[in-house]
Structure formats: C-alpha cells, structure tokens
C-alpha cells in the first residue's frame, strides 16, 4: 500500500476529495436548514426577526455538527474499505530504513511535575536508544519555570538523568531567565540559539511520550518527503486515573480513529499543527514562522498564544506541506484529571483560539488553513451561540405559549395525538418534519460514536483490547450518558470564557485544597459550579412556567447544570476511576495491553513517589534549601550560572542584604522574586553555602537550624527516582 512522494502530491486528487467532502457538508446543512425554515414558515406563514435570528444560528451550529459528522462518516467509509492509501506514512515501505538527519527533541516545560518530566524523557531516551538510531537525536529541556523549587529540582534531575543514561552531550537543559512569549517564545529562543545545528525538531509537551520507533519513523518520513514542513501525529490520551480522565481517554481512543481518517481525507497536504508530538523542518520554520503581534492588547489581541495553528498556516503559505500522520503508533499525551482542570485548560485555549479570528482573512493563507482557524474559533464560540440559540428558543416558546394559549402542547404525546403536532423547544410543529429534523440532529451528534463502536465490535481483537464486546458497549453507553451531562456545563464554561475574553477580563479560579490527591474538593466545586446551578434552576423554572412540556424537553440540559457539583466531584474521584477499571469499564488498549514505554514510565514514577518527602515546614522552600545547603546541588547550580561581570555597588549591597535576611530570618522572610534573584546570582549562592555551614546555630534562623539537622536524615535527593 506504499505510495511515492510524487503520487502523494497530486493537487487534482486532493481537490476532488475536498469537493466531495464539502459538498456533503453543504448538502446536509442545506437540507436541515430547509427543514428548519419550512417549520418556522408553516407556523404562521412568515419569518419573524426572531425566527430569522434563530435560523442564522441554526445554520452556523448545524454546519459545525455536519462537518464533524461527515468527517467521521468519511473515516468510517475509509476504514470499511481497508484504509486510505494517501497517507504520509505510506511513503515509507515496510522494512525500509531510510536515512535520518540531525534532530532535536525539544520539551518546553513550565513549572511541571519534575519527576514526570524527567522520567518521561528517560523513557523516550531509552526507547530511542533501543532503535539503534540515537546518534541522530539530541534532547533539550527548555525550562521557563519561575518557581525556585522547580528550578533547582530540574537542574538536579537533569544532571542525575544524564549521569544514569550517559546523556551528557546528548541531553541538554536550558533555563530561560526572561519568559517572553510563553511556549512559542521558548521554542523560538531554542531555534535562535541552536536551530541551525538541526534539520528537524520534534516538539514534545511536558506530558508527552513518544516511542523511539515513532520518532525514527517521523524523521524518516521527513527525509523521504523533502517538500514537507510539518508532520503531526495524533497523540493518544493515556495514564488517566480519575473517572473523568479515563472517560476522556476512552472517547479519544475509541472515536478518534474515524475522525483522524476523515481529517486526513480532506486535509491531505494542508494539515494542522497541534503544538506537540510533531516533527518540524527547522529551517523553513525559522524563516517563516516568526509570529507578529495581533492588533490590540491581550487577551484578544497582542501576542499570539495558540501559536500552532498559525505556524501551520504560515508553513503552508510558504509552500511547505503539512501532514497528519494519524496512523503512527507510540505517541501519547495525558489529559486533565478533573472537569475543573479541564476547564482551566480550556480557558487558555479559548483565549488562544479566539485570537485566531484576526487571521481568518489574512492574505496568502490557504482556504483549508482558514477553515482550521475557524474551527478553532468555533470550538469555543459555538458554546455561547448554542446558549443564545436555546435562550432565543425559550423566548420563542414564550411567544408561542402566549399566542396559542397554555393548553397547546401541554403534553408532547398529547400534542402528537390530538393535533398531529410535535414540539421542538416547546413550539408546536408538523410532527413529521419536526421529528425528521430532531432525528437528523441526533444522528449527526451520535452517529460517529456508534460507527466507531460498530467498527471495533467487528474486530474481535480490537474489542478485546477495550475489555471485550459487552464491556465496550456498556462503556460507550456510560460515556454517552455522562457526556450528555457534561455538555451543558462545558457550554456554560466556554460561554463565560468567550465573553470574558471579549471583555478583556481574566477568569478567577478557586485555589484548590486537595485532600490527598483525590480530585476536586467540595469547596472548589461549590464555588466554581454554583453559577451553573443557579442558571439551570432559573432557566428550568422559566421553562416550566412557559410550559411543562418545554421544561421536559430542556431537562437533559438543565440536569447537567443543576447536578454539576456532584458530577464534577464524582468524575474527579480516583476511586471511581479505579472501580470502573476493575469492573472492566471504559478500558483502553493502552490499559489492557500497555506498551513498553508506558509500563516503564509507570514503574519509574511509582519508585519516585515512594521516596520520603521533606518535612512539611521545609517543603515550600526545599529547592532553595538544597541549593544553599547541599554541597552538590549548590555546585551544580552555581556551575550552571553565568560568570557575572563586575556588578555595581548598589547591586552588591542589595544581594548582601538579601543573603543576610535569608540566613537570619529564613526563606519565609523573602518574596518569591527575591529568592529567584538570589538563585540567579552565583556569588550569592557560593557565599550562602559557605556561610550557612560556617555560622554557629545561634546565628541562623530556626528554619535553617532545622534544615541542617534534618537534611541528612531525609533522602538527600529531590523527589525523583534519580538515585536508582
């Protein structure tokens, strides 16, 4: 099933695919629009301004649903027919071992769990080592961490990892002093310093895992296809433990193959970049993907936050192809553990995607790239539009109730029986058309799920990897039921994020108080979801007042809002996630048959977390403690700081003052910024180490006395599995 790079790049075939695909989307949306308009028309023989507004919203929202449906349907047809020949991975023949070239594996990190970052990197490094092609790869941890503890732990973890895997000169660590332009700036900084040394770079997230085989394949594909600028893989969600995370990874694992096949069908050489687990040709990226600022200030303007879509569009604009390699195995990422964590991530993504509105009409972008940008915007803007559509529906129902009297439509079944009418959003309509429209919408929404299940059930082995056929069906029903409850809550979250972004406001979050690490606590859930409950109750009361039948139509939406607190807490519980796994529910192939890399990562992390943790009183500043007190940590830290030119008298006085305060009053007396200043000053760190060990106990803060007493009793290493 291989294909030559020349065959792969066939513009006429690509254009034909897109014509077929978008004609289908247009036809389905057109039919549904016609039905909806006809229903409005039949009601009173005209289209009121409210009906026009609802119709416009309906077209926008239905087109989005249709796009998803046709993507899944295309994927389904391709899968039934045995797969798509026109995939970038098919340019490598089975057993072929093409040349590789210098590749940097870069992992930007920002205050992440140090153990997870370095153990993940260890697994990737080892896996690549086993392919025998390690010599082509260098690894870079690009730290933007701005917490003293993180900084010190990362340095020590890096040194220990290098020691253990023989990685000096192969695994590098770079700490940025000024965190300009977040992740995009972090990667750009890497490219400015070292980009020219490498032909390719593979960008990983802090929670990414890629197997050595996957990395080798990606680079091989790039070498084989010199016109390709980016190849994006489709990372699978793994390592979820809470019910929420496991549901997300189950959905991702079961449904995404169809969407990926469908996406590749119409995207072809104009794919998208999702920011990680992708290989990038460095030189064109440097030349064309320097990002400018957008009009206005953040959050809607200013620096581009979600850089990935834009970079894909810029690469494509410059003539470089961007491919999706959805069929590459061995590429993983982790999802948020709770609904609220997921919302926090969505908040950032929402802001980033909303900014893309500026670029929809940018000159020189390909239409498919514009569509990607629009899909990104709509992923969030559709929520307030749905909300608006439903609110207008409520207003409309109110009008209908007033004009028809309350008796009409009191009961949906009664209405069908007596008047031959059905009710959509409380509105009496011709039953056949209304039901057709309703069923069409339901099919659009849920068909992709059932097509995926059908395909998996057809293959016994695939079904077994999801826990068996019965469990697969039960898990899907559970996922569908819970996603129905989650959808309205996410709608409210996203609507709020969109409005706040437009108003230029940030969203405040409750600081979580975790009892152990078992998900969302009640306080956080109550404060976060209280507005959802209030909204659901008010809307429900209004709907019931308008018409009881309208209330029952809305009840699935209202239930999600009203029960958002128990749902949010329940889904965040580790024990529910584990119980579901033990019952054989919502299992994924990565759980039933874990690949080597994930098994190894799990074992390594278990070792890490077994280590004794520092005393509570020392924990908050343990990184600083180690950097001052531990001779090796201090030495590593100092050796990584630049030799400073002679500093001014003023600066010397400032540092001398900080140093004295740190030793006499303890780290609690210093602000975070002051601690970071000290950590960045080599002279101060050398002085502090020497002075701490020289001073008699009476000349030290109680905190330091305790630190000196306890340090050697505790583990002398940071909380990572570094001393194995």
């Amino acid at each position: 099933m291989t294909i030559t790079p020349h065959e792969l790049n066939a513009p006429r075939k690509i254009a034909r695919r897109r014509r077929v695909f978008f004609t289908l989307v247009f036809m389905i949306t057109g039919a549904a629009t016609w039905l909806m308009a006809d229903l409005f028309w039949r009601f009173d023989g005209r289209l009121t301004p409210l009906e026009c507004a609802m119709l416009v919203l309906f077209v926008i929202l239905f087109a989005q649903i249709a796009l998803g449906f046709v993507t899944a349907l295309t994927g389904f047809v391709i899968s039934i027919r045995g797969g798509d020949r026109r995939q970038i991975a098919n340019t490598i023949a089975p057993g072929e071992s093409p040349q590789l070239a210098g590749t940097a594996v870069v992992m930007p990190v920002f205050n992440e769990d140090v153990s997870r970052v370095f153990e993940g990197l260890r697994v990737v490094f080892r896996s690549l080592q086993e392919t025998g092609r390690l010599e082509h790869f260098d690894f870079f941890i690009l730290s933007d961490s701005n917490q003293p503890n993180q900084l010190v732990q990362e340095e020590v973890a890096w040194v220990e990892l290098c020691k253990q895997v023989g990685g000096f000169g192969k695994i590098f660590y770079r700490k940025r002093r000024q965190q300009i332009n977040k992740k995009a700036g972090n990667v750009a900084d890497f490219l400015r310093r070292w980009g020219r040394k490498y032909r390719y770079m593979v960008v990983l997230d802090a929670d990414s895992i890629m197997s050595g085989d996957a990395l080798v394949k990606l680079v091989a594909m790039m070498e084989k296809n010199p016109g390709v600028g980016i190849i994006q893989t489709a990372p699978r969600l793994v390592n979820g433990e809470t019910l929420y995370a496991r549901l997300q990874q189950f959905a991702n694992r079961l449904y995404s193959p169809l969407f990926l096949a469908g996406l590749n069908f119409w995207q072809q050489d104009t794919g998208n970049y999702w920011g990680h687990n992708a290989v990038i040709r460095v030189q064109p990226f440097i030349e064309h993907c320097g990002l400018p600022e957008l009009p206005g200030h953040e959050p809607f303007g200013g620096r581009i936050l979600s850089h990935d879509f834009v970079e894909a569009a810029l690469m494509r604009k410059a003539g470089w192809q961007v491919w999706l390699a959805g069929d590459i195995e061995g590429t993983y990422e982790e999802g948020p553990p709770t609904l609220i964590d997921s919302a926090k991530r969505d908040r950032r993504w929402c802001q980033g995607n909303m900014q893309h509105s500026w670029l929809l009409l940018a000159k020189g972008f390909r239409p498919v790239n514009r569509l990607h940008l629009l899909m990104g915007v709509m992923a969030y803007v559709s929520s307030p539009l749905w909300l608006l559509f439903m609110m207008l529906g409520t207003v409309y129902a109110f009008g209908v109730a007033n004009s028809h009297g309350r008796a009409v439509g009191e009961s949906f079944a009664g209405a069908l029986a007596t008047h031959g009418d059905a009710s959509v959003f409380g509105m009496p309509m011709q039953a056949t058309e209304a039901l057709t429209l309703f069923l069409l919408t339901m099919v659009m929404l849920f068909a992709s799920k059932f097509m995926s299940v059908f395909l998996t059930l057809k293959n016994r082995d695939a079904a077994e990897s999801f826990g068996g056929r019965k469990n697969l069906v039960a898990s899907t029903l559970l996922e569908v039921a819970l996603s129905v409850f989650l959808a309205p809550v996410n709608m409210l979250f996203h609507s709020k994020f969109v409005v706040y972004t437009l108003l230029g406001k940030g969203v405040s979050w409750v600081t979580q108080k975790r009892g152990g690490d078992d998900g969302t606590d009640w306080r956080e859930a109550i404060i976060t979801h209280a507005p959802h409950i209030a909204f659901g109750l008010a809307w429900g009361a209004l709907a019931f007042y308008i018409r009881p039948v309208f209330f029952w139509w809305l009840s699935p939406v209202l239930a999600g809002m009203v029960f958002s607190i128990p749902i949010s807490i329940g889904l965040g519980k580790l024990r529910f996630g584990r119980a579901a796994a033990e019952a054989g529910l919502i299992l994924t192939p990565e759980e039933t048959r874990p690949p080597y890399e994930l098994r190894r990562l799990r074992l390594n992390l278990e070792e890490c977390y077994k280590q004794m943790r520092p005393l509570d009183v020392l924990r908050a500043d343990y990184g600083l403690l180690q950097a001052v007190l531990d001779p090796y940590v201090n030495a590593v830290h100092v050796s990584m700081l630049r030799q400073k030119e002679t500093s001014s008298e003023e600066a010397r006085e400032y540092f001398a003052h900080l140093r004295d305060r740190l030793l006499l009053d303890g780290p609690g007396a210093l602000a975070q910024k002051e601690k970071m200043s000290l950590l960045h000053d080599a002279e101060s760190m050398i002085w502090l180490h020497r002075e701490l060990w020289r001073r008699p106990a009476r000349d030290l803060a109680e905190w330091w006395r305790l630190a000196v007493r306890q340090y050697n009793v505790l583990t002398t290493t940071p909380v990572t599995a570094l001393y194995r």
Binding site: E293, G296, L503, A635, E691, W693, R694
Partner: protein, 203 residues
C-alpha cells in the same frame, strides 16, 4: 565572615595522639563536631572510618586556632578548616587546569558528583595521601554541558497582512482601547439593545 586559612602542611598529621581542645566549652566543640560530620555526610562520605579520621584532624587544627583566638566560635573555625582542606584537595586534583579560584570548590564538587567519587573511592576524598590517578583523571575529564555550542539564527517576527476588513477592525479596536469610555458605552448600548429587543418581542 572571611577568616585566614592556615597553610596546607598541617594536613600531614591526621591522627594526633590524645587530642583534647584546650580552649572552648565541650558543648561548643560538640556542636563543631556535629557540623563537620553533617557537612561530610552531605558530601556522601558514608564511611564512618574515613569520616571520623577527617573530623578529628579538622577539629585538631580548629582547636589550635581557637587557642590563639578563643573569641572565635569552634563551629566557624571547624567549617573554615573543612573548606580549606577541600580547597587544597580540589586544587591538587585540578592543578594545571584553568579553573577560577572562586569556582574551584563548585567545579570540584560537580566533578565529584559526576564521577561518584565519594562512593567509588571511599577513602580517597580529602585524604592526604596520593590521589589515585584514575580518580584524579576522571574528575578532570568530567564536566556538565547545559547546551551544545551555539549556532545562532535570526528568527524575527514576520508581519502578516490581515486583509482590509480585519485590518480596519484591528485599527478600530486599537482606537477603542485608547478610549475606554467609548468601549464601555458601546457595551452598554449593546446590552440595552438586547433587552429592548426581548421586551418588544414579548409584548
């Protein structure tokens, strides 16, 4: 607090007979003992035998200095002696290498960490005897490189032509940002229009 350091010749008499500090309280010397012990342990010198030899030698030198200047704290003196001992030892290892004086201890400790020196050669670190050649060579050869040699590129932001409509919208937004009152008014007018629309429809 900078204290003068005695010359390295004193390192030769490691195990003095019947060592008793003649000045300073027993509590102060116990505290000094504990400090040196902690510091050596922080260097992963886990051999009690080696530790106690070093501690006693260091304290003996500290005690002699204390006799000359009893106002100084034994803990401080012991720490200064320990540092001096280390500086001399690292100096011997890195003799001929271009290591700046103020970074000698840091460089030495990093080398010791990378070679696992304190564990692999448990009696050699800070010993006055000859440093095993392999140990010294491994120490000299070890180094950490946080990044490869730079190969600088020029990655500059490329302007994107947003198109006429978006460009005009951008200019309007930037103008509105300069006039926050105008922005607020526009927002309130929008809200008022929505409410008016709902009111009119429901009449």
């Amino acid at each position: 607090m900078e204290l003068p350091v005695e010359s390295g010749d004193a390192m030769n008499d490691l195990l003095p007979e019947g060592f008793r500090p003649r000045t300073g309280s027993i509590e102060a010397w116990n505290a000094a003992y504990a400090r040196v012990e902690d510091y050596l342990r922080a260097h992963r010198i886990h051999s009690r035998l080696h530790q106690s030899r070093l501690i006693q030698a260091i304290l003996e030198h500290a005690a002699k200095r204390h006799e000359r200047n009893p106002s100084l704290d034994p803990t401080t003196l012991a720490a200064v002696e320990t540092e001096a001992w280390m500086d001399r030892w690292f100096g011997a290892v890195f003799a001929g290498c271009d290591v700046p004086g103020e970074r000698l201890a840091a460089t030495g400790r990093v080398a010791l960490l990378l070679t696992n020196g304190a564990t692999k050669w448990p009696y050699s670190f800070l010993d006055t005897g000859e440093i095993p050649e392999e140990f010294a060579r491994t120490m000299r050869e070890s180094s950490i490189t946080a990044g490869p040699n730079m190969a600088v590129s020029n990655m500059v932001p490329r302007p994107i032509d947003l198109g006429v409509i978006t460009g005009a919208a951008g200019e309007t937004l930037e103008r509105m940002e300069r006039w926050p009152v105008l922005k607020t008014c526009a927002l309130w007018i929008f809200f008022a229009a929505v409410f008016a629309g709902i009111f009119l429809f429901t009449r």
